[in-house]
Amino acid sequence: MDTDQLIRSLSADNAHRAPRVGAVLTMALLVAAPLSILIFATFLGVRPDVMSAMHNPFFDMKFAVTLSLAIPAIIVSLHMSRPEALLRGWGWLLLLPVGLLAVAIGSEAMMAPAMPMTMRLMGKNSRVCLSAIPAMSLPLLAGALFGLRHGAPSRPALAGALAGLVSAGLAATLYASHCTDDSPLFVATWYTIATALVTAVGALVGSKVLRY
């Protein structure tokens, strides 16, 4: 087939309209979310003292941190799904949860400690945290990768890593309502390790499946 002929067939297909990447990503995450919620409801569930925990600012802070990861990660991943996009000017959005955590750790340090620092850091749930966040991330990660496949990222591994951040942020939001460890030190340690794991898997899979 010569190039003029190919161009002719492409022009004939001009009427075909694909949805925007944002729409496909949203749909894919909405389809994946029930699976993650099912894992949550089956194995974890909301902590029993949730009503009193809500009065603890460090409990609420966990959701601020995880959502400040998930939402900017969605925004940056959509931006990076365009071929000409640069991370420059957008990457700082991903530092929001880091900044929030730093503020939270600082505030906790200024209060009279209820527990010694090592106990707050190690918590009681580090193992559950390290398995629950990745497990609940998996359906969402698959969804995010599916959605981003509709885009045309020039850096597939980076786009995959962003999909990992999206799914880990959302899964960590669910997990935060189960976990009784509210210290920002615990969150900064174990949530971060779990998120890094999911992000690495996202980058690895993304480098394969997000090429277009």
């Binding site: 190039t3 003029d4 190919l6 161009i7 001009n14 075909h16 071929p83 090429r211």
Partner: protein, 186 residues
Amino acid sequence: MVRARVRGREDEWTGLMRSAMAGDDAAYHRLLRAVTPVLRAAARRGLARAGQPPDQAEDIVQEILLAVHLKRHTWDSEAPFAPWLFAIGRNKLIDALRRRGRRIFVNIDDFAETLPGEAPEQTASAGEVAAQLSALPQRQRDVLQSIAVEAASIKDTAAKYSMSEGAVRVALHRGLAALTAKLRDQ
């Protein structure tokens, strides 16, 4: 002077692409024909830099055109068209060189610096798309053959194969998507 010509050319592309996205098939056809010589010159330059014969340039051009077509929803109609196009061009050139086992030396300016005058205008056939075409399901192949090679309209193609026009459109789009997937995964 040269810069102004490149600028004018790129503004024209952006305008054509906006019309194309609004449903103007003729504008889309003109746009693809206008960008092809520029892509071809850049692909040749990239191949030459990698020490590869320039006769593979047409395969790369066709791959770029397919990717442009299937990913055009990622173009932001408020943004200029050329940076988006050249980013896809670079990605496809890098992929093509990597597949040929070459170390990659794609200059970012291979695409952007191609000047209007220096690009050869001739059309050329390429082996890879043609080879993958024969691996498509019968119906998709018939439709593509009819529209691309025989220059039949969607309507005529529908009549020829006793299909609805909608079915022809679906087969055409699926055929193009399948071709692209085969080229990527080869």
